[in-house]
């Protein structure tokens, strides 16, 4: 009797702490470019076995990431791109595989390699994208990069490659331990057609600080209730013990 209530309330309290961790993580990333909030929560985990099926423990779960669109901030940067809904930028992960991100604050290395958060950005041909020395650079809304090559008059426009932008729903993607997204079914998503990004702008984190704060308060209160249950169960057990020992 005691153990059921105690352990079940314990799973709830422990799940609340885990939820609070994911809320903290979302709040910490409220200013990270292209960040997508973790949808954390609890799920019922019935305890199966012989006897009356009365025990349903709580298990902390991650229900993927929020597909909400973050606010667009105009920065004017030539290498800043904000992706439209359901569009992803292909980058190379540390194992050399392809992964996807919405962080469009691109950088250029000394060799002209385009990177996003230090990871090489992949071009339409599947290889990391390198831009030759240039005087000016422009990224079109379909990801085509056009440059004025160094030493050429401004009227000379050359195509320096194209960003690989794919189309996939957030719900069909899974976030890996490195924070990059990969398709849940393992199939490479289809390349996005037409207009898929805005240059000179960045997509902010899609974390809504207000709703996160509300969730934080709610989780804290739920935790207090779970602790109350632990406390009551403890008191029950104590009085049962004292009744028995007074005999």
């Amino acid at each position: 009797m005691t153990d059921r209530a105690l352990y079940i309330a314990m799973t709830g309290a422990s799940a609340s702490l885990k939820t609070q961790a994911s809320v903290s993580h979302n709040l910490a990333n409220a200013d990270t470019v292209g960040f997508q909030a973790t949808l954390g929560g609890t799920a019922a985990a019935p305890i199966t076995g012989p006897g009356h099926a009365s025990r349903v423990a709580a298990a902390a779960q991650t229900f993927g990431v929020s597909g909400a669109h973050g606010g667009i901030v105009n920065t004017g940067g030539t290498l800043d791109v904000a992706l439209q809904s359901d569009r992803w930028l292909a980058v190379q992960d540390s194992q050399g595989g392809v992964a996807y991100t919405r962080a469009g604050n691109l950088q250029m290395t000394a060799n002209g390699l385009l990177t996003s958060n230090g990871r090489p950005v992949i071009g339409a041909d599947g290889a990391p994208l390198t831009v030759p020395p240039h005087q000016s650079l422009d990224i079109a809304s379909d990801g085509t990069i056009s440059i004025v090559p160094q030493g050429q008059p401004a009227s000379t426009i050359a195509e320096a490659g194209r960003l690989r932008v794919v189309e996939a729903r957030t719900a069909d993607m899974v976030r890996g331990d490195d924070g990059l997204m990969r398709p849940a079914n393992g199939q490479p998503p289809a390349p996005a057609a037409g207009e898929s990004l805005v240059t000179g702008a960045l997509e902010n984190s899609n974390v809504e600080a207000t709703s996160m704060l509300v969730q934080m308060i709610q989780t804290a209160r739920a935790f207090e209730m779970q602790v109350r249950v632990l406390q009551s169960v403890d008191e029950n057990a104590r009085s049962a013990n004292s009744l028995l020992s007074s005999r």
Partner: protein, 261 residues
Amino acid sequence: MTQALWIAKTGLDAQQTRMAVISNNLANTNTTGFKRDRAEFQDLLYQTVRQPGGASSEQTQLPTGLSTGTGVRVAATAKEFSQGSLAVTGGALDVGIDGRGFFEVLMPDGSTAYTRDGSFKRSPQGELVTSSGYPVQPGIQFPEGTQSVTISPDGTVTVKLQGQAEDVQVGALTLADFVNPAGLQAKGGNLYVETGASGPAQTGAPGTNGVGMLAQGQLEGSNVNVVEELVSMIETQRAYETNAKAISTTDSMLGFLNNNL
């Protein structure tokens, strides 16, 4: 158990760093040729506690997993090399760069530094030097009896000497450009040094290969946009507050646990 506390702490750290970057930008609003920094945030690694798609029994799979993020960090402070506005000063040795490029400066230790601060002076020895007294490269020597100096947009430096009708060319200023100026290391004193990330300097005459032209009698102001910095400051403060709130909430949860059990 205190995971949430530590995650929120990373948020406070990152916002604190961003505030320092904003303060530095604001402090340099009037620094000649200053380029603003931008703090770039990155989410930290995720810990997968339970893999989505893992087997929950022989026939069934877990539909969702549990992976907790571990916070945020400032991954980089990126310099933004957008053009600052050129202000007319009228000084003959004030040179602004309109476009890409840096002046080359010879440091006392023999190394080379780069700057966009063109508030040059004439040294007692007649050399063209920066306001810190470091010679500008390639060296320009003003002969005795120099009355006026003209610096043309393509870098040619001519002087008018006392008692001579014709102007004399004493040298030419060049500009150095980098593939990735954002990779330069700022040294303070309006100077930058080359790094592996910036790529080697490519020196050329102003107006060639995409580098800018020179503007005599003008100085480039800082590219800090005060309004933008103030808005970022408010944003940073609010983000700091929410992270602090996360810490106090988690703390009170643990406090409640300790006091009631």
